[in-house]
């Protein structure tokens, strides 16, 4: 029904959604862009609409910038490694027929439904607390001195918390991929003399490659903007300040909107660079 009338009717009816989406995305982006070239410190009553690239220079040249970039990359990389590895193993496990399969699968998804703030608080106060935390009880049970997670290994702690949240997502996507593997292929490999580990390496893993790239891509996009978990636990101290958190500190703690906006724009650019890399990899895998 692609007549001219129906086409223009379709356009008309899509217009509100498109305008809304555009506004939603473009207005904040343009405002940020505008502020990033301004000296805007509202509490001091300073507003200079154009100071060129000063904000960008200051943001990039501060020592905390490169630390934040490193922290972000380490955090995202570690979380990806943990969720994908455990996700593959869990998916293989959940694929096996067992008693109570449906219930177990729902339980596995559960962490994904917990809000980041809540789960970070729960982990901080109930799991990792050096006095009352579940983990410290476990440590004491084995006669060890409880580990003060968030003080001694803050980055690792946050990585663990976020991995716990994202593991269900990875597991779920990988589980559907495992289920789509043709059983005859595994049987053929078995007859061809491939023991279980080799079947995993030569048949299952290549089959999962596409799902793994998709998990990686989607998670990276979301993980680059981790905020609540850091805010609730370490407040960005002890080397847990990611780029996102640095931007937040510049805007709200230093009350320097211009500097923070510049940081935001840099973060957007960096995220896009990462995304382009990942898209390339995904594209390669999708061709195959």
């Amino acid at each position: 029904m692609a007549t001219k009338a129906s086409q223009s009717a379709a356009r008309l009816m899509m217009a509100p959604a498109v305008v809304l989406l555009l506004g939603w995305m473009l207005v904040p982006l343009i405002t940020t862009l505008y502020f990033s070239f301004a000296d805007f410190r509202p509490l001091r009553g300073v507003f200079e609409p154009w100071i060129g690239f000063d904000n960008y220079e200051r943001f990039v040249s501060s020592s905390s910038f490169w630390d934040a970039v490193t922290t972000t990359l380490v955090m995202v990389g570690a979380i990806l490694a943990i969720t994908v590895t455990l996700g593959v193993l869990l998916a293989l496990l959940l694929d096996k027929p067992m008693f109570g399969q449906g219930v177990v699968r729902i339980l596995v998804i559960a962490p994904f439904f917990v809000m980041p703030t809540v789960s970070a608080l729960v982990w901080k106060n109930m799991m990792m607390d050096p006095v009352n935390g579940v983990l410290s009880h476990v440590w004491r049970f084995f006669g060890a001195t409880p580990h003060d997670w968030l003080v001694e290994t803050p980055l690792l702690s946050i990585i663990l918390i976020v991995s716990w949240q994202w593991l269900p997502f990875a597991t779920l996507i990988l589980l559907t991929a495992v289920q789509s593997l043709d059983g005859e292929q595994l049987e053929a490999a078995e007859m061809d003399g491939a023991p279980p580990l080799k079947r995993f390496w030569f048949i299952i893993l290549p089959h999962l490659a596409r799902a793994i790239t998709i998990v990686t891509l989607i998670q990276t996009i979301f993980l680059l903007s981790i905020f609540a978990e850091i805010f609730v636990t370490t407040q960005g101290s002890f080397g847990t300040r990611t780029l996102t958190y640095l931007v937040y500190q510049r805007v709200l703690e230093s009350q320097n909107v211009g500097l923070g906006s510049a940081g935001g724009i840099i973060a957007v650019i960096l995220a896009n660079i990462v995304a382009i890399f990942l898209m390339r990899i995904v594209g390669k895998n999708l061709d195959a």
């Binding site: 043709d182 005859e184 292929q185 049987e187 053929a188 490999a189 078995e190 007859m191 061809d192 003399g193 491939a194 023991p195 080799k198 030569f202 048949i203 290549p206 089959h207 490659a209 195959a288």
Partner: protein, 334 residues
């Protein structure tokens, strides 16, 4: 070498016994076809032989060696699956090389065997393609190539032609038969298509509900079906089975007569009936004839192009020497 002996084997899934105790010997170099309607346990039987399913009880031997508890890879059998089960992320070359790679065969020998198999199967030009870029027939050949390079004691085929179109199927049927003649290796072939069974087999095993109904060469089954089931299953179009008074005349509960063993005449014969549907194949014509006293229409073959029309009355005479008689228990009366 590949003489396979099954002794008293059974298979149960939970409480359901799909294969009651079964004995079978497959001689070295024989082309054996398991045939039967779907759900008759023929694929299960093949998978038991392959080792992909565990037997519930019984023993299996290959060349006198007990392999009942030997894992599939060590039985020295190669299998071609219905879906071909090629590894989609590997090139044709790597697919064929896979079993040798798992066995740790050295590279030079691998290459030599791949070249040989590819030449035999017309795959030389496709070695660097992936399975996704091949046609159904080519994929089938790759699957066979992957089986050949292992130099197995026996080949197992699980309905390998059922995913191909009719024309290709006839061609592949021929290729597999030729392959068997060249390699002289034992082959076990599962199909539900009795035409495939008749054309390819040295020995046909007819199965129903896990039970072997009859074992024999294609012509033995055609000439002397042991019971009603085999009689109805082997032959195309199927044998006419007649019960009631007409059968009693010949001292049987059922009589069977194949469409090709009934003579047709326009004016005189033992049975008279009205022509229903006519199927003109050119070389033959099959008529479905409604005879008054019979429950089902008779299928009758007339050679060449015969010009009876629907509604005509024709007369038919069965060839008594080729009539099959079956008793109350469904078994053949000699």
């Amino acid at each position: 070498m590949g003489r396979i002996t099954l002794n008293n084997i059974t298979k149960s899934f939970g409480d359901v016994q799909v294969i009651p105790p079964l004995d079978l010997t497959i001689e070295d170099g024989e082309f054996t076809v398991f045939v039967g309607p779907s759900g008759c346990g023929k694929s299960t039987l093949l998978r038991l032989i392959a080792g992909l399913e565990d037997m519930t009880s019984g023993h299996m031997e290959i060349d006198g060696r007990d392999v009942t508890d030997v894992p599939p890879a060590k039985r020295g059998l190669a299998m071609v699956f219905q879906s071909y089960a090629l590894y989609p992320h590997m090139s044709v070359r790597k697919n064929i090389a896979f079993p040798m790679r798992m066995a740790g065969v050295d590279q030079a020998e691998q290459d030599a065997k791949i070249e040989k198999a590819a030449a035999a199967l017309n795959l030389i030009d496709y070695l660097d393609r992936r399975p996704g870029q091949l046609s159904g027939g080519q994929r089938q050949r790759v699957a066979i190539g992957r089986a050949i390079v292992r130099e197995p004691a026996a080949f197992l085929f699980d309905e390998p032609l059922s995913n191909l179109d009719a024309a290709l199927r006839v061609g592949m049927r021929l290729e597999i038969s030729e392959l068997h003649e060249r390699l002289e290796t034992t082959m076990i072939y599962v199909t539900h298509d009795q035409v495939e069974a008749m054309t390819m087999a040295d020995k046909i095993v007819v199965l129903r509900a896990g039970v072997i109904e009859q074992v024999g060469s294609p012509l033995e089954l055609y000439r002397e079906p042991r019971n009603l089931f085999v009689a109805g299953f082997i032959g195309s179009p199927r044998m006419n089975l007649i019960e009631g008074p007409e059968a009693a005349k010949h001292g049987a509960t059922h009589i069977g007569i194949r469409p090709e063993h009934i003579a047709v005449s326009p004016d005189a014969g033992e049975w008279a009936g009205k022509v229903g549907v006519a199927e003109h194949l050119g070389s033959d014509t099959f008529f479905h004839v409604h005879v008054n006293d019979f429950a089902e229409p008779l299928t009758v073959r007339a050679p060449g192009e015969v010009s009876f029309r629907s509604g005509d009355t024709i007369h038919m005479t069965p060839d008594i020497a080729r009539m099959h008689r079956f008793g109350r228990d469904g078994l053949r009366i000699a």
